[in-house]
Symmetry: C2
Amino acid sequence: MSETAGGRRRVRSDGRRSAAAVLDAAVRVLGRHPGAKVERIAAEAGVTRQTVYAHYPSRPMLVTAVVDRITAEAVAALDAAESDGGTVTEQLRRWLDVTWQLFDRYPLLRHPSAAAAGPADSDRQHAPVAERLERMIRRGQVSGEFDGSLSPAWLVSATIALGHAAGEEVSAGRMTSSQTATVLYRSILRLYGAREP
Amino acid sequence: MSETAGGRRRVRSDGRRSAAAVLDAAVRVLGRHPGAKVERIAAEAGVTRQTVYAHYPSRPMLVTAVVDRITAEAVAALDAAESDGGTVTEQLRRWLDVTWQLFDRYPLLRHPSAAAAGPADSDRQHAPVAERLERMIRRGQVSGEFDGSLSPAWLVSATIALGHAAGEEVSAGRMTSSQTATVLYRSILRLYGAREP
DNA sequence: CGTTATCTCTGACACGCTGTCAACGTTAAG
DNA sequence: CTTAACGTTGACAGCGTGTCAGAGATAACG
């Protein structure tokens, strides 16, 4: 991570390149097949298994790095959706659309515990997202768009849970993706106590 | 399960007794520590690891048996809560109380994927419960207590998801158990479009 | 009571995956 | 060109799962 250590440790461009290749491969493979073996990831990166361990001390830590990367991508997309202005309800709508696309891209997001190291990873994944969603809910509550008798923190957890449930419905084939998106949107508005149009 | 096979295979009471001991131990150990090793379960049952395999071919199948047993207990408790009559809303209240107690007793119910063999186990666990809940919701919708514009099937999934989220809040120490129960109840009523009192 | 099939136990083994190590090439930085 | 960093090969230990064979207990049955 840092070459600022006291020693005059020469960093080789080769190293960072291969570390990046491993991380990219891990994002692709683990994103689609949580629980994939290290061997598989190494092969995808065009590298040996031991090289993976040279950059990431253990499988759980590699998973953590993957989660961080996906989270960063999610946060960026979410911020873009939030800065477009409009009603909080409209922002929420865009927010859900973006999240929905991410869920399609990374099935890992639907099976959090399948590859995670521990509860630490789950927090790491949810914290920045939850923070933004909570701000949005609080804004809607003070503006009167949403009812204020349930705490924003709980509503955040509930929303995430509902999102996971909706993802399950889709991947289980019980509903289509667009049906589910609509139903999820209505459910969340109800949960927030929003004035339904 | 059946000694009705054509051959006259002598069944020894010893066998069933030890199989039951293994299952009991598995329920205790896996209920509290999903992901526990077979060795641990065997020790808890006062039996060798190989004996466990003598009764349950593989670890996943043992987990399935455990899930079936806990599910049976849950279904029994749920049926009792349902048969007490009253408003659907009141039934729902009792339903949640019972579920809440079960969650306390079996942390396994909160970490479904931690020990499960595959999606089959999850269905196995949820199907009988979901069936009963769906009947209850449908009853509430036709009686006018609940709004009818969201499908009962989806509301069932959403309710289960909300329950898991609430359980997480408690075990993460972010809310007390009784606080969460109240909040969960209100959230579900909102989700169902119930006339709030 | 004695025979017999069933069950448990001990001990050992193969397999797969994770993580580590040393030795030998390779490649980039100075 | 020299040197330190890096990748690679091959081997190994550890752990958990699942299997097997043989010896010893024990319940069922005549």
